[in-house]
C-alpha cells in the first residue's frame, strides 16, 4: 500500500518523479526496499517530530517555573526503545543483503559485453572487433559486463537498472543485470528529420536534445558515478534495449567494420565520434583536453620530451597506439592507448579523416 501511494506521487509529473524508469529485474527489489525503509523511517520520524514539537509547545513555561518531573531514567522504557528499532534494523540488513547477493550472482550463459572506461568516455566491446560507445542489450536476457579502466577509477551507473559498479584500473570488475523493458524506436520520419538537421549544421549528435540515438532508438542514461576529473559529468552514454535478438545482431553488425562502399575518411569520422576521440580533440581548432585536429596534419609540434617533429602518418599511428610516447607540450599525458582495440583498417580510416581536416593533408 505504501509503495502504491508513493508511486502515485511519483507519476504526478516528470519533474517530480521520484525514481527513473524501472527497467531491470533489480529495480523492483531495490525500489520496494527503498519504499519500506522510507516507510519505517517516516514512521519513526513522525513519532520523533510530533513529540518534539508537542513537548516544546506543551511544556513551555514562564521563567522560573519548575519542571513538573525530574525523572532521570526508566529502564523498561529505555530497553523498549533500544530493542524495537533494532529489530527493524536487522530486517533491513537481511533484506538488503539478500537482494544484494542476487545482484552479485551472475547467471551462467549471460550475454557478454566488454566495457572499457577511460577519461572521459566508454567503449563497449561486442566481440569480433566491434566497438561502440552505446550499450546495446536484449530484453529479458541477463547481461554480464566485464569492465576495465585505462586510467583512473570510474563507475558504471544505469539509474533505470538500479545498478552501479566501480571500474577500477588494474583489475576486472564485473556486473550484471537483466533489462525488462524495451526502449522503443522512433518513427523513420522523425529519425530522418533529426539526421538531416544534424548533417546540415555539421554538428554532432545531441542525445539530450533528441532523446534517441542516431539509429532512432530511445534509451536509458548511463553515467560515470565516480569522480574522474575534468569532464566527469560529460562521461555519459546510453543504454538501448532491443526487443529481438535479430534486431540487436543487426545493430551490432552495422558497426562491425567499414562497409563496402564507405570511404576511409567517412568511416574515420564515425570512429572519431564513436571511440571517444571527440571528447578530447576538437575539429574546429578549439581547445579541449588534447590538441585539436584542425590543421594538425603537416604542422610541427613541440613535445614535452624530446625534439619537435612534423605530424605525419607515422606520428598519428604511434599516438593512437602509444599515446604517452610523444606528448605535445602543454598537454597532460592522459590519453588512453587504443592498442588492440582498433584494426589496421580503423587506424587507416582515422588517419585519413585527420588528414582531411588539414590543408596539408588534402
Amino acid at each position: 500500500m505504501l509503495p502504491a501511494a508513493f508511486s502515485l506521487l511519483a507519476d504526478y509529473t516528470e519533474d517530480y518523479a521520484w525514481f527513473p524508469d524501472s527497467a531491470s529485474t533489480f529495480s523492483e527489489g531495490v525500489d520496494s526496499l527503498y519504499y519500506w525503509i522510507t516507510g519505517i523511517a517516516f514512521f519513526f520520524f513522525v513519532i520523533v517530530i510530533v513529540a518534539l514539537f508537542f513537548f516544546a509547545l506543551k511544556y513551555r513555561k514562564a521563567k522560573g517555573e519548575k519542571a513538573t518531573s525530574q525523572v532521570s531514567h526508566n529502564t523498561p522504557l529505555e530497553l523498549a526503545w533500544s530493542v524495537i528499532p533494532s529489530i527493524f534494523l536487522v530486517g533491513m540488513f537481511i533484506f538488503g543483503a539478500k537482494v544484494y547477493l542476487d545482484m552479485r550472482t551472475i547467471p551462467d550463459g549471460s550475454y557478454e559485453v566488454g566495457v572499457q572506461a577511460f577519461k572521459w568516455g566508454w567503449t563497449m566491446d561486442y566481440g569480433k572487433g566491434t566497438y561502440h560507445p552505446e550499450l546495446h542489450l536484449l530484453v529479458n536476457e541477463p547481461t554480464k559486463l566485464t569492465m576495465r579502466s585505462s586510467d583512473v577509477i570510474h563507475s558504471l551507473y544505469v539509474p533505470a537498472f538500479r545498478a552501479k559498479k566501480d571500474v577500477v584500473p588494474g583489475r576486472y570488475n564485473y556486473m550484471w543485470f537483466e533489462p525488462t523493458l524495451v526502449t522503443p524506436k522512433v518513427s523513420d520520419e522523425e529519425l530522418a528529420e533529426a539526421t538531416k538537421e544534424v548533417e546540415e549544421s555539421g554538428g554532432t549528435w545531441d542525445y539530450d536534445k533528441y532523446q534517441f540515438t542516431p539509429d532512432g532508438y530511445k534509451f536509458y542514461d548511463l553515467y560515470c558515478a565516480e569522480y574522474c576529473g575534468e569532464n566527469h559529468s560529460e562521461m555519459q552514454t546510453v543504454v538501448v534495449v532491443h526487443e529481438t535478438r535479430e534486431d540487436l545482431e543487426a545493430w551490432v553488425k552495422k558497426y562491425s567494420s567499414r562497409g563496402d562502399n564507405v570511404s576511409l575518411e567517412a568511416y574515420g569520422e564515425q570512429l572519431y565520434e564513436r571511440r571517444g576521440c571527440s571528447s578530447c580533440h576538437s575539429i574546429d581548432g578549439s581547445q579541449r583536453v588534447g590538441p585539436s585536429y584542425q590543421d594538425a596534419f603537416g604542422s610541427t609540434r613541440a613535445f614535452a620530451s624530446g625534439p619537435s617533429a612534423m605530424i605525419d602518418e607515422n606520428y598519428l599511428r604511434e599516438s593512437i597506439l602509444y599515446p604517452k610516447e610523444k606528448v605535445v607540450a602543454g598537454y597532460a599525458p592522459v590519453m588512453p592507448s587504443y592498442k588492440g582495440q582498433l584494426s589496421d583498417d580503423d587506424i587507416d580510416s582515422l588517419i585519413a579523416y585527420i588528414k582531411s581536416l588539414s590543408s596539408a593533408g588534402q
Partner: protein, 578 residues
Amino acid sequence: MSAGTTLPAGIVRDPGFPTQSENYLTNSKGVLSWIFTLDHKRIGVMYLIGVSLSFLLGGLLALALRWHLVDPDGALFSNAIYNQVFTLHGAIMVFLFIIPSIPAALGNFLVPVMLGAKDVAFPRLNLSSFYLWIFGAIFFVLALCGSGLDTGWTFYTPYSTTTDTSVILATLGAFILGFSSIFTGLNFIVTINTMRPPGMTWFRMPLFLWATYATSIIQVLATPVLGITLLLLIAERTMQIGIFNPEFNGDPVTYQHFFWFYSHPAVYIMILPAFGIISEIISVHSHKHIFGYRFIAYSSIAIALLGFLVWGHHMFTAGMSDMTTIIFSALTFTVSIPSAIKVFNWLATMYKGSISLTTPMCYAISFIFLFTIGGLTGLHLGTLATDQHLHDTYFVVAHFHYVMVGGTLVAFLGGLFHWWPKMFGRMYNETGGRISALLVFLGFNLTFLPQFVLGSRGMPRRYATYDPEFAFLHTMSTHGATLLGFGLLVALIVLLRSLFSGRRAVANPWGGATLEWNCTSPPPFYNFERAPIVGDPYDFHDIEWDAENERYVTIEPERKLAPETIPDEAPAHAGGQN
C-alpha cells in the same frame, strides 16, 4: 511556589558581574597578550575566529557552486574550475571548519571551565596546536587556491597520483592540520583524566565533557592513520612506488580502505561533540535532569569505538568481496542504534520539563529535526541493495549535509548562542537569534531535501553539468542555499551586535547547573575564585529564578561544602597573565 517571586531561605550563591580586571578579556591588554597567551579561553576565542573565517570562505564557495548549478551550461565556471571549487569547498569545510569547530573553539573554552579547572593540562601544547592550525590552514588554503586542486577532498588514487594539480602541497597541509588535531585531543584526554576537582567523579561530568573525551580518543587514534596515508600518497607521486597505482602494481582500493579508516571515525569527530552540546542545551533550557545520563555517556564512547569498524560502507560498489561487504553493512547498522537512542533521550528530557524557547533551544530543536532526517536516510545507504543505486549520487550529498550541516553546524550555532553570554559577557537580541534559527532551518531544508529526490532519480554527484530533467530540483536547491546563507548572516549580525550594544550578561543567564555557570560572565582569568562545589550537573532543584533581579541564582541549602582549595598562589603557567 509561583514563578520565583520569593526566594527560599538558604545561602544564595551568585557571583554577580566580573570587575574590570578579573575577567580574561580585560586582565591584560595588547595584541601580544593574545598572541602569546596560554589561557585556554583566549585560545578558544582565537580558534573561534579562525574556524568562522574558514566557514565563511567555504560557505561562499558553496554558494558559488549552487549558483553555477542553476544554469550549468552558462558561463560561471568551466568544468575544470567547478571541480576545483567543489574540492576547495569540501576540503575547507571538513579540515578547517567542521573537525576543529566544536572541539577546538568551544572545547578549548569550555572544557576546563566545565571541569572546574584553571586551564588545560598543557597550556603551551595548546597554544602550539593553535599555531599549527593557523600555519596548516594558511598553507592549505594557499595550496588549494594557488595552484588549484581538483581531486575532491578525498584524494582518491590513482586520480590524485596522476592529476597535475597541487596534490602534494594540499596533502602536506592536511598533514600539518592533523598534528594540531592530535595535540588538542591529547591535551583534553590528559586534562579530563587528571584535572577534575575533588568531588567530580566520572559520572558527575557534564555530557559535553564525555563527548569531548570520546572525540579526543578518535582524534588521537585515527588522525595518525590519515597522516601515514597522505605520506604514502606523496611517496607514490614522487617516487612511483606501487602502493596505490596499478601502473606499478598497486591497488587503488587500498587507498580507499586507508582513507576511510580515518575519515569515517572523523565523521564522529564531527558529530559527537554536537551530541554533547545538544545534551547540555536540551537539559538546561528544559530545566530538567537529562534523561538516561549514563546511556548518553557510555554511548559516546561506544560510538567512538564502533566508528572504527564501519569504514567499508563507503566502498559498497568498489568491488570488495561479498562477505566483506555484508559484514560492513551489518556493522554499520550497529552504530545507528546508540545514535537513535540519544534522540529518544533528548525527547524524554523535554517531557514534563519547563521549556524556554530561547535561541539555543530553537537551534537544538532544529538539530533534532535535521539530524533525525540525516540519520534515517543513512539507513538507505547502509542497506546494501539500495546503496547500489544511491551511492555517489546526490542522495549521499543530501545525507551527509543533513548530518554535517544540519547536525554539527546547527549544534555549533546552538552552542555558540548558549555559551556566548559566558564567553563575552553580553546578551544578544533574542528575537534576532530566533529568526536566524528559523531562517537557517527553512533555508537548509529547501537546499537539501530536493537533493534526496535528485539522488533517487539518479543524479550523480560531482557533476558540473547535468541532464535537463534535473534542472528544476537544482534550482530549488539553489534558492534554499541563498536563504540559508541569509540566515547565517543574520546570526552573525546578531552575535556581533551584542558585543557592542548587548546587555551585560549575568553569571547564569539560563539557569544551568554545570560549573561554568558558577563563575562570572565572562570568566575571570583563573576561571573560579575558589574551587567550585561539585554536584550533579543536571540537578536543577537548587536553581531559582530571582524575578526581582531578573537572574537565576543558586540556593544552597545548608550543607557541607566540598573541601576547599583556595588558589592562594599563582599556578605554574602564570606567564600568560600579561
